[in-house]
Subunit: 287 residues, 4 copies
């Protein structure tokens, strides 16, 4: 991956009013920042304003560590929800898997090639089938079998590990376990799942079997943030492909794998590049 | 449209067994027929065999009117559900509309250009807004307002008209009325609807509003045969397009129009060209 | 079409430097404008900055007619190429046609429904086949047959008509004539063509025949601004669809029509909504 | 991969005439074969008939090794080009690579998962960068650096290796070398390449750079059989994805990788499943 100059990225949402762009861009300009991306959106139904602005740290007169402090009065003035990110920080990503390997391979290959700018300190499996895959990529693998009668115990182990490793984002790469509400709440908008249907069609188990039974002519995959409601979280990315009566359930599964990989990695990339603002149960994607 | 040589088209399904292709192709060959298309499918779950075979009538030694009689013993031998069609018959199509005009224009333009090989003896509206459109294309328009307290009365009028005109296929071109079970049964697998979502997502009313609320990144349209269960009939064709957080409900409606037109006309064309076999609640499409 | 509040739209490009967003947004804010869209792009190869900013005229303290004058010093300071537009002005669109009707119908239907916000004061044909279409939509039709030995004479007639009608944009809706360099220069970046291939594949005549010969598995359509070089102008929009060995040239032509209509209307809409900046032989599309 | 019952697959083309289906299906039926797929196509321009027919060997009264001999008289009668394949034979595939790894990983993962039914006895590189990848999958890697002044010498080495290994199909997985006419002729219709553009656009070197310069809104990838004319061979599969002015050349390369992998593996799968008939410079794909 070519080295890029480090940048600061500000993601914000607030009640829509006049002067937000002017004030934020003035803040960057007066501190000698060079804006390289600026994107905004207004949700007219709720009069909510969204912004993503990215500028080069090189030459910026405020040290990175002091930007948040200096920006806070502006944020307060407009009642912003906001977060500040730096492009030279490599987010720490944990991947949760079961037995299916295609999404794990895809993620680790994209991390290896630099297409996904992240570290993967750990892969956790509720089965140990994919341990060799993690090891091939030089990644630690933890085998945490799930005791169905005490899911919380397993999640405590995971949380402990994630805390010790400083995990920023958790990717469910065809992880066939439902997380508890407490876990999901702790990592709100930081757990990304891939569901193998074009949601909201075919929620729940065995979506390819459902699609086969319904006789659809298109199948899909959906990546979304995980919430306490199964398959109901904010959608980040979706894609579809055509199928026909000639496709058996096995064919749907095979065709779906390509979708799942591409949609999941797309969603992870958008998250890693700080291009997503969650808004209610929807996402604003600044791509 | 270029004139094509007239052909016979045989659509059949039956329990799968050895010798079906051999026997059917022998029937055509021994009567001096030139096969121009032959397609088959086996549903392995139910061991059901499907076939579409098309041959030129030119030079065929059996007159068109006698083919069915001569084929009947073969059909019985294999316990076939079957139908025989002739490409030089122009099916009679009725179009039911409400106030929305884009699907009606699209169908009538495609009939006019010869892309859809059909006659349209009548357009029926439960509103009269689209009367001028029908008239521009030289098509009779009937205004049959629906009395919600007596839907059956309206349908009796329709059935009477369809019978008198010899209607073969009924297209619901954004017709905003639910048909009774009796009507649907009478025209089984001959009523084609366009639903403005990628079914089974967003069944029922206002699918674009539902899609907007759910925050999907893809919207779709689905054309299907109408059954007594709302939006549950066998799917013929589907298509989708990408949307984003920038799209308002109005944008979804606008983008969806392109899908609706293309998907509906595609389904109608498949039906008119005798390329669909309905099987349970699914379709086999020989395209 | 729902009435929207009138807005001002500023399109600009200039050498990239610090402070452009800050200055432009300050200009809008200090005159009490409410920005509803703001989009920007930096071409890093050439260090060129592009911006589209749209704000409500309602409440803006500068009358519409004086905005350009007041903005001029800012434009000069940054050495901008710029243009100012108002959303409540309905651009005047001329459509040039030959014998093929699908793009003309599509454009006029979208104008009629309000999806394309334009007036169509005239349709000009080098054949008179489509006169009834124009008339159905209440649009003037001019039959200007082209004398191949004196193309310029025909274009002089067209220019005279366009001048008298105040034409803003010229759409070639499958117009099978090559325009002279002089004509193209006069209406630079205001003549939009639809070419029935995914350019740069299959430049020139009979692209569907070329596609058939090459055995491609995908066909496309491309809408672009017309320049003096045939089919080489800046591309605005493209789309494709799958084909197979089963598709004859006639099938490609039929499938291509859907693409042509959708791609051309998409390009025209982007132009009418002032979302395109031409940059060398490429386009920046703020959609 | 689920074990399937072994089948025989007959691929044929011949001058179109009456009775071909009847005779071929009779041949299968009279020898007690159960046809599980039968597909045909007639090229009306050249009056050429194409057929793919697949039947279960289980219960077939002719031993696999004798089928060709018994079928030969039928083939002669209709002047057929034909080939006979057996689904339980695992074709031997050689992969040629340079430095780029995504297509190699993709192929080897799909072979590993059983999605591609092939053996890979050797990966050959003109660089040795990808040796560890081959080794991870337990595949022999040969480093054959190319001497530009004596390409033929290198190809002789390759041919010797392929002969000794009984190679059936050669896949160029982003192999950045042009093969000689002699090599291509020897493995006619058995060398599959992936070109990173939607051919015939952007033939030759650096197609993503060409696409960037032209300002296209869609990029693609094309898999084709290699012939002596660079990038001119029969196209097997193509796919595209949307791009915009925001995409740098690096972005096009990144987005293109997904296309390249999927299109190449799709083409290889069609070949391995004996679903392709080459006809002049085009392909008939029985999928």
């Amino acid at each position: 991956m070519p080295l890029k100059k480090p940048t600061a990225i500000l993601l914000l949402s607030c009640p829509d009013t006049r002067g937000i762009v002017a004030e934020v861009s003035k803040f960057v300009f007066e501190n000698n920042g060079n804006i390289i991306h600026s994107d905004q959106h207004t949700d007219s139904q709720t009069a909510t304003y969204f912004m993503r602005i990215e500028w080069e740290l090189d030459g910026f007169s405020v040290p990175a560590g002091e930007i948040a402090g200096i920006f806070t009065p502006i944020a307060r003035k407009f009642d912003m929800d906001w977060s500040l990110h730096f492009s030279d920080y490599r987010p720490k990503m944990a991947v949760l898997v079961s037995k299916t390997d295609h999404c794990l391979y895809d993620l680790l290959l994209r991390v290896k090639s630099g297409e996904l700018y992240a570290e993967v300190p750990a892969v956790i499996g509720n089965h140990d089938d994919l341990k060799p895959v993690a090891e091939y990529f030089g990644t630690r693998f933890e085998y945490f079998p799930v005791d169905p009668s005490d899911k919380a115990a397993n999640e405590r182990r995971e949380i402990e590990l994630f805390d010790s490793l400083g995990i920023d984002i958790i990717v469910l790469a065809r992880y066939m376990q439902i997380l508890t509400g407490g876990f999901v709440e702790k990592y709100k908008n930081r757990v990304i799942n891939i569901h193998h249907s074009f949601l909201p069609a075919f929620v729940g188990a065995k979506p390819y079997h459902q699609a086969y039974s319904r006789g659809v002519k298109i199948i899909g995959a959906t990546s979304h943030y995980v919430t306490a409601d199964l398959d109901q979280g904010p959608i980040i990315a979706q894609d579809v492909t055509q199928v026909s009566h000639r496709d058996s359930v096995e064919d749907l599964i095979r065709k779906g794998k390509n979708l799942e990989k591409n949609v999941l990695s797309r969603a992870v990339q958008l998250h890693l590049e700080h291009k997503i603002v969650v808004f209610g149960n929807k996402t604003v994607i600044f791509d």
